[in-house]
């Protein structure tokens, strides 16, 4: 089924209209798929968005935090760029997310918490209906993370079934003695 047919009428109208006040917002959730309770595990999902619609409840007199509230979850606004995988002769390219925002806290999270499998969920919503997910890209894992003074880049990959053995057993005398 086409992805377009699953979008809401508001989103389709916003995409094709010559002028629209709808904002297409990307929500990013970084989480531990196993829900590990170890203190060193990133069990608390990190929720980020690439745009903002309001101030979040975590705003204090000392710090103002912008973001998006979707399905009762608060997504903190952080400018980011999603690089979708390209298609070439050698197969699919990598998907990556770049944050042009580097702090010592981010480096600590990368170095201390990205030691186990960490999953990423990418969702798209429109500003008029933040609780309805227009598109959801699931099953991405963070495979590598790189950073420099200007940006942090997370490379995302799915489980590659092309390299899985199929059939799972080789027809050798060890496994199938009756064949020989």
């Amino acid at each position: 089924m086409s992805r377009l047919s699953r979008l809401s009428p508001q989103a389709i109208r916003a995409m094709f209209s010559s002028e629209t006040d709808e904002q297409l917002i990307m929500l990013l959730t970084i989480y531990d798929p196993n829900g590990n309770t170890s203190p060193t595990a990133p069990t608390t999902p990190i929720r980020l968005s690439d745009n903002y619609t309001q101030r979040l409840s975590s705003t204090t007199d000392d710090e103002v935090i912008y973001g998006v509230v979707s399905r009762s979850n608060e997504y903190v606004f952080l400018p980011m760029t999603l690089n979708l995988p390209n298609e070439n002769d050698s197969g699919m390219g990598d998907c990556s997310i770049s944050f042009n925002f580097v702090t010592p806290e981010m480096i600590t999270i990368i170095r201390n918490h990205l030691m186990s499998r960490t999953k990423v969920l990418i969702e798209l919503v429109v500003s008029s209906n933040l609780d309805y997910v227009e598109a959801s890209l699931q099953n991405f894992y963070i495979t590598t993370a790189s950073y420099n003074a200007e940006s942090v880049t997370l490379n995302l990959s799915m489980v590659n079934y092309n390299t899985e053995p199929f059939p799972s057993f080789s027809f050798t005398p060890n496994y199938f003695p009756g064949l020989f």
Binding site: E19, T20, E22, Q23, D61, V64
Partner: protein
């Protein structure tokens, strides 16, 4: 700690002639090969104000203390908007070399101060 207030300081509350304000919205405008451009709302823009005040030497010292000790150069504070007469949350925008305000000598004991504020959405 509550948000610092410009009104509670011993500073001029109304800017001088020459006040200017930059207003707008963040939009994406893309030009197709033919036909009218497509426009999409991106979000709220941070509007800015350019202000100048005539201050006494004592008020200049108050402003310097307010920026260095209270705001630490980065905090936001409430400011009475010169056009709408409502309190808005603003931050001082420094120039690229870190200059927060410029003083210009007017007369003995009086200085012209120019600042740039950004209004937080």
């Amino acid at each position: 700690m509550p948000i610092p207030s410009w009104a509670s300081q011993a500073l001029p509350q109304v800017p001088q002639k020459g006040f200017s304000e930059s207003l707008g919205l963040n939009i994406i405008r893309s030009n197709p090969d033919a036909g009218p451009a497509k426009m999409r709302r991106k979000g709220t823009r941070v509007n800015t104000m350019d202000l100048s005040f005539i201050m006494t030497t004592a008020q200049c010292a108050t402003l310097e203390t307010f920026i260095e000790d209270t705001l630490l150069g980065v905090k936001r504070f409430t400011f009475p908007h010169p056009r709408t007469f409502t309190n808005v949350e603003v931050r001082i925008v420094p120039s690229s070399d870190g200059e927060f305000f410029k003083l210009q000598y007017l007369a003995p004991g009086f200085w012209n101060t120019s600042l740039k504020f950004e209004i937080l959405p």
